[in-house]
Symmetry: C2
Subunit: 234 residues, 2 copies
């Protein structure tokens, strides 16, 4: 059997899809949960809670999905406009741009001799030069042009999926307190599981990560509950 000696670096490289799911589900589990909890503190029936919950899920998923789409296209526009500007600067402000390349190499600890040679080589090819400036002066990577649409859908769908979890118990009862009880139980469990896997993706301790995500949800729900109780008592 041939052994595989390829060096597999265990660094994080979570896919874009997972990132979108995390973004959408994080708010989707938390905000409708807290909204429903808040309303449970003020109304007895579950009709209004279901109505408000569904309106919130629709609002949140569209706002986040389209917001993600807009962010994606804006990133693309921004990249293109900066690219154009760098080509202009390389053409018309060559000395200044050369100095900026030199500054990069100096920061990385290269000797003056190698700095000069490296600057000479990079600035010898205008495309390489611009690419270098985009990445190292501006910290911009070329965005994937198909990303915005996919991202919009993934984030929106994850928000809906997340939001239906805390809302579902209210469908099965007419008593808001009863609904709240089950909503708290299943949502806190789901928030913990979600936080656990999210933490694994980012390489932090999954147990403490899961607990933190759960506690954010609990804090949001408790605050919303307290505030509506206060309003009702006025």
């Amino acid at each position: 059997m041939k052994e595989n000696h390829t060096h597999q670096e265990p660094h994080l490289n979570s896919s874009d899809l997972l990132k979108d799911i995390v973004i959408g589900m994080s708010d989707g589990l938390t905000v409708p949960f807290a909204l429903a909890a808040g309303l449970s503190g003020a109304v007895n029936g579950t009709g209004v809670i279901i109505l408000a919950g569904i309106a919130e899920i629709a609002a949140g998923s569209i706002a986040m999905g389209l917001g993600g789409y807009l962010a994606g296209t804006t990133e693309q526009d921004h990249y293109n406009s900066e690219l154009k500007r760098e080509y202009y600067e390389v053409e018309h402000l060559a000395e200044i741009e050369k100095n900026e390349v030199r500054k990069c190499f100096k920061e990385w600890g290269l000797s003056t001799e190698i700095q000069e040679k490296a600057v000479h080589e990079i600035t010898g090819n205008k495309d390489h030069w611009v690419q270098f400036m985009m990445k190292h002066e501006l910290g911009l990577n070329e965005p994937d042009p198909t990303r915005a649409k996919k991202s919009a859908f993934n984030i929106g769908a994850s928000y809906v999926a997340g939001g239906l979890v805390p809302l579902s118990p209210y469908f099965f009862t007419n008593d808001s307190t009863e609904g709240l009880k089950f909503s708290v139980i299943i949502t806190l469990i789901c928030l913990f599981i979600f936080g656990y896997f999210k933490s694994k993706l980012t390489g932090v301790n999954p147990l403490s990560g899961g607990l933190k995500v759960m506690m954010i949800g609990a804090a949001a729900a408790a605050t919303a509950f307290g505030i509506t109780k206060l309003i009702e008592s006025l």
Copy 2:
């Protein structure tokens, strides 16, 4: 008078505070607006809308604020754990890590000779070497440790400020349709202004940017309104 010949690059460099305000206000203007619009399609009085709106603002600001805080501390933890790993790899997998430095320089278009010399110089200092790998292999910059807390507050407060805009008209009337009318007018105006300045910050066309942000809000509100109308008619 001494002339200032410093080269001012007109690239975007929006401050962290502005980024936080954009994050919080973007959702804060949109989601409570759409939620209130959705409920206006199903209830006549404004009491429930105000209650749900305030519960949503509390929920959303805490979820986004604490979410921002958690993201900040996670980024810090992630950076530290990757830093530790890079020091380990530089120590124990030196040849492989050297190759990765070489690959970077190759990608930037340097000749084999300069590649070798640059690799030699960078890998001569372990701290420089690790910093180089963190930035160019992993694309990670050292996060500001005080950022997470400030960011949490700024995002949460911006969400509250944004959310009170669409909700405010409902305080002055008992008729949800009347409230909705004024809410639509002032929120769409605010969304346009917000989108206009946000677009200026990111260097895209402010007029079309403002219109897009406004249309996202309108789409979210119209969908929420339509869905609750549909539920009510069942």
